[in-house]
Symmetry: C2
């Protein structure tokens, strides 16, 4: 099963240098999950060849415009495009009013099953699960109620090692015994170790919040906002945002294998210096860009 991340927008509030506001897609075989939905998200999905109809669930971190202003257009396109599949949206309080008001005033009629769930952002909690993933929301420290999302692939069952079955030419009865965990009197590892479940954490927007580290332990890939470089620490603190060094400290603390930086201020033409600062603390750091893809 693929576990593929595509970044649709890598900038913070004001679009700049061709960088768009926040939006990411995590794709598995038949499903996809949209994380935040800034203005233009539906166009970026077209541009980066992501089938809009594949989106099962949308997770909204907070209600700042650069994370939600693409929702009315995307939902309207689903209405006009004849979506029949259910769409679930999770986000903070106020999300229902935002969606219902924009759709009603624009004369959009939702003709599919749209389920909006508003959740508190004060405590960490599992908010969603299906046959592919479990999603946990984690409180962040921003000017408005905000949460991060941790995606964990469901553990796989160990697979029977077929080569051993062939090697010993086992009978059906013996195979059933092995599957039932019974001893058939042979000292072999009948099962192949399953792949380690993949995991991804999306942390945007927040000031430096080391209290989230325990929730992130064991995560493979961490996306953490890095609106500013270290020389703008005071500004970052004033605006409840992080520097790229803050992000690196969180990555170091949680022991992930890779750190992705995004949500860049429109003051940066090149974002590379932010990665340079972060790498002094967490070497495997990379800045994302619109269209960035990572196969986990």
């Amino acid at each position: 099963m693929p576990f593929k991340l595509t970044v649709l927008g890598s900038n913070s509030a004001i679009p700049a240098f061709g960088r768009n506001p926040s939006g990411q897609v995590l794709e598995t075989d038949n499903s996809a999950y949209l994380i935040d939905c800034g203005e233009g998200t539906q166009m970026r999905m077209d541009e980066f060849k992501i089938k809009k109809s594949k989106i099962l669930v949308i997770f909204i971190s907070h209600l700042h415009g650069d994370h939600i202003f693409g929702l009315p257009g995307l939902i309207t396109s689903y209405c006009l495009g004849g979506r029949s599949k259910k769409l679930q949206i999770f986000g903070p309080h106020g999300l229902k009013e935002f969606i219902h008001t924009t759709l009603n005033l624009s004369y959009s009629y939702v003709n599919f099953d749209l389920e909006i769930t508003e959740i508190g952002t004060e405590i960490a909690a599992e908010i969603y699960s299906d046959h592919n993933v479990m999603v946990e929301a984690v409180p962040l420290k921003h000017r408005v109620p905000t949460m991060g999302f941790i995606f964990k692939e469901n553990p796989r069952r160990p697979k029977l090692n077929k080569s051993l079955i062939e090697k010993y030419n086992l009978s059906k009865e013996q195979i059933v015994q092995i599957l039932n965990g019974e001893d058939i009197g042979m000292d072999e590892e009948w099962f192949l170790a399953p792949r380690i479940p993949r995991s991804y954490a999306y942390i945007s927007d927040t000031s430096y919040a080391p209290e989230i580290i325990p929730h992130l332990k064991g995560i493979q890939v961490l996306y953490h906002e890095a609106t500013y470089d270290e020389d703008k620490r005071t500004l970052a603190e004033e605006r409840y945002h992080s520097t790229s060094v803050d992000a690196a400290r969180i990555a170091q603390g949680c022991g992930c294998s890779k750190l992705l930086l995004g949500h860049f201020s429109s003051r940066y033409h090149s974002t590379e210096p932010l990665a340079v600062s972060a790498k002094t603390i967490f070497p495997n750091t990379e800045c994302v860009h619109d269209g960035f893809v990572l196969e986990l």
Copy 2:
């Protein structure tokens, strides 16, 4: 003075083939007027090198999402970017609630003078004027209250013909007499004929509405929606949209010099066939595209 049209989005409701929803900018020397504001309008302004700060007034034809979903993002960018200049927005009833609700729920604080004027769409009326232009709203025939907009450059004063002043070496007193319209006993045309005021009409969205023709008499350039080609006439009528032939009939009726077609259905990969159909009735027809520019 320039009188320059830039098309930001040429598609109808669902973005397709790189074509974005409605948005156009009409620029003069120091001012610019935005007509409709579909999702992504602020990004298209960046892409097509239009200074967002130049926009004085926004005219909204109707409240369907593909004409308004870019407003919250644009206004928020003005807030964050430190706009100080007043912004006026004209549009149908419901526009205030749309703007206020989206800004409030997204914690956006308007820190400049934002004046929203809701206008009835039942009768034609002059709704705006300044030192450059006069704008008239014209009722259209769509599923929801909708108006078109006619932009007319203010008439210029005739300019004194300086070469004649030099030729006859006129005194200051004689010049004042000429400016006051007095006869100084010489049979000359002291004034150069002023340029004919330029004019542009934006007609989107509407079914075929020949009743608007009297309002469009004397217009130079007409933009008229052409969601469908002639073979989709029934669909066009059902959905209160026009075919390109409908648009051509309106152009022929009002005697404009040029017809621009836009607001294309996402069923069309190439829009050229729509121009071919229209040209059988009105030869000087052109399909617009995102980034299309016309100096009037």
